[in-house]
Amino acid sequence: MKPGIITAEELARLVTEWARAGAVYAPVRVRDWTEFRRISSLGEADFSRINTKLPVRSLLFPQCETMFRFKTDEPGRVEEPPEPEPQVILGVRPCDAAGIALLDKFFSGQGETDTYYQRRREKTMLIGLACNSPADTCFCTAVLGSPSGTRGLDLLLTDLGGRYLAEGDIAEVCRRFGIGSPSLAEAGDADLARKKELADKAAATITQQIDTGKLKQLLDAADNHPVWEELSLPCVNCAACTFVCPTCHCFDITDETRKGSGARIRVWDTCQSCIYSQHASGHNPRATPASRFRNRTMDKFRYTVDMIGEVSCVGCGRCGVECPAGIDIRETVETLFAALGTKQTKDAVQKAEGKTGKQQ
């Protein structure tokens, strides 16, 4: 489908129509940041910020979710939550959308399908907004993304100033909501050239580079490297980085029962917490802060490459912004390259492995 042009007025009209037929979410100003909130008109949305406080995944995989309700005197009978309603999420940044593409792989790509994620996902349309001015914390291009990437999106809008270039299938979004699709004017050569100019300019502002292939190789041999201890010292092991991450998807399941009825609830969990890996026996295979810090970094750049064939950092930079200790994953990666990429450190690895015994 050829890119079309949608004016701000037309987009506003569509948002109002979609909001009548289902749920529309968009970044909304909350205190001094933005969060995805349900809106009924485009005027409520605020696209001035690059990243929302929490990533878009929280609308598909909420922090707390009731899986089913039960009564203790009715064994075997459960009451499932109602079907989710169709939702369109507007103003999704390309990194966040890439995060959803990764969650699709984690939750339904292979083996078991996570029904709770999947049933929301099937009813969700993601409308992206290209980043014309990435933040100084952004590094999507270093992890194979782009400020104008379309991965995971149903539609990508690029703000050309009062009008948007729309790439993707807007008719499908409208069909899902049971409303007529607009007939968009086809984008002219000047619009396409302007879009390319904006996209190139945005991508050029991100200077961070990460050789993710090389990093994977280095991490494959770095299980017991002393650099983890050094890197983890400032880390306080809170969950801020994992909870604001567009691709972190660990959860815990708990039953809450009161007076004969209860609910099975799942909540976000975090590998940074000591009890995350605590066994019932009391043994904890990741008992030290360094091992937990290592796990998160390894997960993003090594484990998921083995699992789903790609790194699971999308370069949004939220973890660095929210870290109470000021740890920036870009610096972590740079330190890893410096520490793991030299001969001297290979000796250190062997020494450390000799001391602790190679794990895994």
């Binding site: 306080v236 809170c238 009890i275 929210e322």
Partner: protein, 285 residues
Amino acid sequence: MSREDQLRKRARDLLAAREVVMVIGYRAGRRPGTTVPAFITRPEDTDKLIFNDRCGANLTAYLPRIPKTAKVAIVAKGCDSRSIVALLKEKQVERSKLVILGVGCEGIKVDGQLSDSCTTCGYPNPVIFDEMVGETRDMTETSDVSDRVPDPLADLESLSPDERWHSLMEDVARCIRCYACRQVCPNCYCPTCFVDTNNPQWVGKTTAGSDNMLFHLMRAMHMAGRCVECGTCHRACPMGIDLMKFNRKVARIVRDRFGTVAGIDPDEPPALAAFDPNDRQEFIK
């Protein structure tokens, strides 16, 4: 010599003379204007040390994690030093294993603004230290700063109990239970926090208002007589919850009822861990 140069020199000398095995201070973060706690063990790395008004992390929080076998040096602002006193009282650190490098603090800035906790700070200078690095802060000026601030609890205290409850519920509704507040707090050194106890489960794991409130109220209760109002939890909160409201209220109650202020006198018994037959107990009817 600038304060930073003095700090670096002292750190270098201490490490070179093997008087300490580590200097805990601050270094510049990857992003301009940010700082990261630094754990310097080699004299040649001491040039990384910095001190400025962005050094808001309370470094004392790292002390219980450091093995107590060797002596370490720590850079301490007024509030950090009060936290050291609090930990000394609770036998979590050994004075003889610490070299406290005191710094007078001009107040911590967040996005160019004075951090809320610092607007009512009465202790910009360390209350306990081995040596001062740079100038001590002029206390008269500090008092002026405090005087200019309207009572930060006036709004909260003017509310009826019901209104107060709703107001606090509104605050904690934003909590995502990342526990950044707990993790950056020097007082939160319990090997297993009450929220992490799951057999039995004391606090629900959801972000429902009641679960969030239970966490914050219980944490506030555990801070009574111990919290030094450093504000590091407030600055750490990714959701911008006004944790100073809890901290200040609890500190005020402790001051009013027990006549003590946390983190000043290492020899004074902890307010809530000592029994005095003369304690007011009119609430027991």
